[in-house]
């Protein structure tokens, strides 16, 4: 019994150690940098969660079964920065970059997701931020162009007006 407790304590300790690196950031660390005409705006997970929450229920070609994504609609994110026009360049941690036309930024459009099925996403699993489109809602969202724009491990948005 005593040994069991020690083992449990060790296991929990190990879990915390793992969590230190496995969850890539604390809620206050900067996850997303949005540059609007050279002006930098930094968003932590908490900052993103303070913005209106959008939920997308959809299947994706990269996952199994129906997924529930929670995040900030790109439209809401741009609204919070008073951006209504311009070009959006999204860049991932590995420098994968893609241009997202403003025409994509519509109500019930793409979302900067920070949680998948109620869980935060690890960097090892396309997280911590992933631009997700409501693929199931419209066949127009089931194209390779849209899949290319569905950038995961997102860490920068650059907007030029």
């Amino acid at each position: 019994m005593k040994m069991g407790r020690i083992w449990n304590a060790t296991a929990i300790g190990a879990l915390f150690c793992m969590a230190g690196y496995a969850t890539i950031a604390s809620a206050q660390d900067v996850l997303l940098t949005v540059t609007v005409d050279e002006v930098r705006h930094e968003f932590s997970l908490d900052d993103l969660k303070d913005l209106p929450v959008s939920t997308i229920e959809t299947t994706t070609i990269w996952t199994d079964g129906l997924q529930v994504f929670e995040g900030v609609a790109v439209q809401a994110l741009l609204d919070s920065l008073s951006v209504t026009e311009g070009t959006i360049k999204a860049t991932a941690i590995n420098e994968y970059a893609v241009d997202i036309p403003v025409s994509d930024v519509v109500e019930n459009g793409p979302v900067v997701a920070y949680s998948n099925n109620g869980q935060p996403m690890l960097r090892r699993e396309k997280g911590p931020l992933w631009i997700v489109y409501p693929y199931d809602s419209d066949r127009a969202y089931q194209t390779k162009t849209i899949y290319n724009r569905s950038i995961w491990q997102l860490d920068r948005l650059e907007i030029n007006r």
């Binding site: 941690i93 090892r124 390779k144």
Partner: protein, 250 residues
């Protein structure tokens, strides 16, 4: 009588033949058309990411991770974090590659790659000091699998090309059959149109002839010196001539 009956019989037979041909043609064309429609629908929505890109990225991330190991030998926190970052990229790429559809030949290699990466997780998630100490172990593990990313890429692309070619051939075959049936039905329809057009001309001629006959009979009736009154089955007077008017004084 017999000679008049024959053309009608021929018309009937050719009518039946055309109708049956059109029914058969459309009933063959309908399922093939549906099949082509579903194929077009399938092409209309992309079923997966760009496979060529996914496989090339697996190799890229593998090489970047190998380079990050060398850089991490400096022992700085930033370089060790950079190594963890590239490992995470490689790990996520392995997951994506494993999800590419119709990619059975590479699955054992992908599973092996995933297993070996899984075994590195405790080291990657350990503190910086341990990661730095065991960098050689980590590097040896990656060196052991250095052929895998390229091997996965080559076999997967080859299988993807075969599948894509087979699908292309299937669609071409379906469209070919469909085009043949459409041409056949179109020829039959044109044939039927021509026949109807001929029938219309005959009908018009007959109607003119009938009209002329009727005029001739009417003139004969009017010119007759005998009084003629025509009754129908119900005793109603349908026609009469001038002589009849004179006789009856109506």
């Amino acid at each position: 009588m017999f000679s008049e009956y024959m053309p009608q019989a021929r018309y009937k037979i050719s009518n039946y033949f055309s109708a049956i041909a059109i029914v058969v043609g459309t009933s063959i064309a309908a399922p093939i058309g549906a099949s082509v429609w579903f194929q077009i629908q399938a092409i209309g929505s992309a079923q997966q990411d760009n496979a060529a890109w996914v496989f090339s990225q697996l190799e890229v991330e593998y090489l970047k991770t190998r380079r990050a190991i060398e850089v991490a030998r400096s022992g700085t926190d930033a370089d060790l974090d950079n190594l963890r970052k590239h490992f995470d990229m490689l790990y996520s790429r392995t997951d994506i590659v494993g999800r590419v559809k119709n990619n059975t030949v590479s699955q054992p290699d992908i599973t092996l790659l995933r297993d070996i990466l899984d075994r590195q997780l405790p080291l990657i998630e350990a503190g910086n000091a341990r990661l730095l100490t065991d960098l050689d172990i980590f590097e040896r593990a990656l060196v052991e699998i250095e052929d895998l990313p390229r091997q996965i890429s080559i076999t997967s692309r080859s299988q993807a090309a075969d599948i894509s070619e087979a699908e292309r051939q299937k669609i071409i075959r379906l469209i070919g059959i469909l085009a043949f049936i459409v041409v056949l039905v179109a020829i039959l329809l044109v044939g039927m149109f021509l026949r109807l057009w001929c029938q219309k001309r005959t009908l018009k001629r007959k109607s003119i002839e009938a009209h002329e006959t009727q005029l001739r009979l009417a003139t004969t009736l009017r010119a007759s010196l005998d009084g003629i009154v025509v009754f129908d089955d119900h005793g109603i007077i349908r026609d009469f001539n001038g002589s009849a008017v004179d006789i009856f004084g109506v």
